[in-house]
């Protein structure tokens, strides 16, 4: 039932598990994804007692980037965590595999959301100070060059 989720988790090897603690704050740790059960969508996870996690909503995030902060990849699995017999179990509730057109979807959704954000507030599209963007990039490039 959770074959796609299992495939993606296996690809990353580890995931960021986020739970809610007893004070209502989110808290994250890295967990191994190797024990994920594709039939039940369950994963036994290690959650240190100091996190003080609560039974309830949770998520698994896998993401990666290369040495130049590019080739970005990420997936998210939503679910719950529950303590059973002293052990923590993550249980999958939903997973949508990334689309092959993820970049185009990202751009399309971002443009739509941005316009909606402005429209709702009655704001015109603001002008970006491109000269300053270029200046920041120039300084960054100079720092990279000086480092090598």
């Amino acid at each position: 039932m959770w074959d796609d989720a299992a495939k993606w988790l296996n690809k990353f090897g580890e995931a960021v598990l986020t739970v809610i603690d007893t004070n209502g704050y989110p808290a994250s740790v890295r967990v191994s994804t190797s024990g994920y059960d594709r039939a039940s969508g369950e994963l036994a996870v290690s959650l240190p007692a100091e996190i003080d996690g609560a039974n309830g909503p949770a998520s698994l995030l896998c993401h990666s980037h290369d040495e130049k902060l590019w080739s970005l990849q990420m997936i998210t699995i939503n679910g719950t965590v529950q303590q059973r017999d002293g052990a923590w179990i993550f249980r999958t509730e939903s997973f949508t595999p990334p689309s092959k057109l993820a970049v185009l979807d990202f751009i399309r959704n971002a443009r739509r959301s941005a316009q909606k954000y402005l429209d709702k507030r009655g704001l015109p599209r603001p002008q970006v100070n491109w000269a300053e963007v270029k200046e920041v990039q120039r300084r960054a490039k100079a720092a990279r060059t000086a480092k090598t």
């Binding site: 960021v16 986020t18 704050y25 100091e50 980037h65 130049k68 590019w70 100070n129 300053e132």
Partner: protein
């Protein structure tokens, strides 16, 4: 783990996993690039094209940042640091990266680490993704800090003095 070692991790890791809480109370986590300021707050930004982080924070300020991804950082002995805190998401829309020194420093760091990101300010990049540089600022005030000196999350974390978590120098 010393606070200075934790600060080194925070400074050198390219991203952290930033979590806000949805309307339903579920955690929503994104990789982001933050900057720790001298006043102890973390600065993050999000495009108005991806405003969900800001919406979540305006409903519920409780957030966390996990620094656990060492790729590209050059850190020889990877560790991990978890920050839990309270966030505010400004209403102000920022389109001038030089309008705040910390914002300028953050953008310069990201630009240094991500050379291909310059695409978003090219002729094509501006047309495809005009909201990229139209941004909201998010500030996180840490309330608790934990560290894993060897990045072994099966080990108990060490508590850090949160008042010592601030940019030095």
């Amino acid at each position: 783990m010393s606070t200075s070692a934790a600060l080194d991790i925070i400074d050198r890791y390219f991203t952290c996993e930033f979590t806000t809480l949805s309307r339903a109370g579920s955690p929503v986590t994104w990789p982001v690039s933050p900057r720790l300021q001298a006043d102890g707050r973390f600065l993050l930004t999000t495009s108005i094209g991806m405003p969900q982080k800001a919406f979540n924070i305006r409903r519920n300020p409780k957030v966390s940042l996990l620094f656990s991804e060492p790729t590209g950082s050059g850190v020889a002995q990877p560790a991990a640091v978890l920050i839990q805190g309270d966030a505010i998401a400004e209403d102000r829309i920022v389109t001038d990266v030089s309008s705040d020194p910390d914002l300028a420093a953050l953008m310069e760091t990201v630009s240094k680490r991500q050379p291909a990101g310059a695409f978003w300010s090219t002729w094509l990049g501006k047309r495809l993704m005009w909201p990229y540089y139209v941004r909201l600022l998010i500030y996180v005030t840490p309330r608790r800090a934990l560290s894993w000196p060897t990045r072994d999350f099966t080990r108990p974390p060490e508590e850090l003095d949160v008042t010592e978590v601030h940019r030095v120098g």
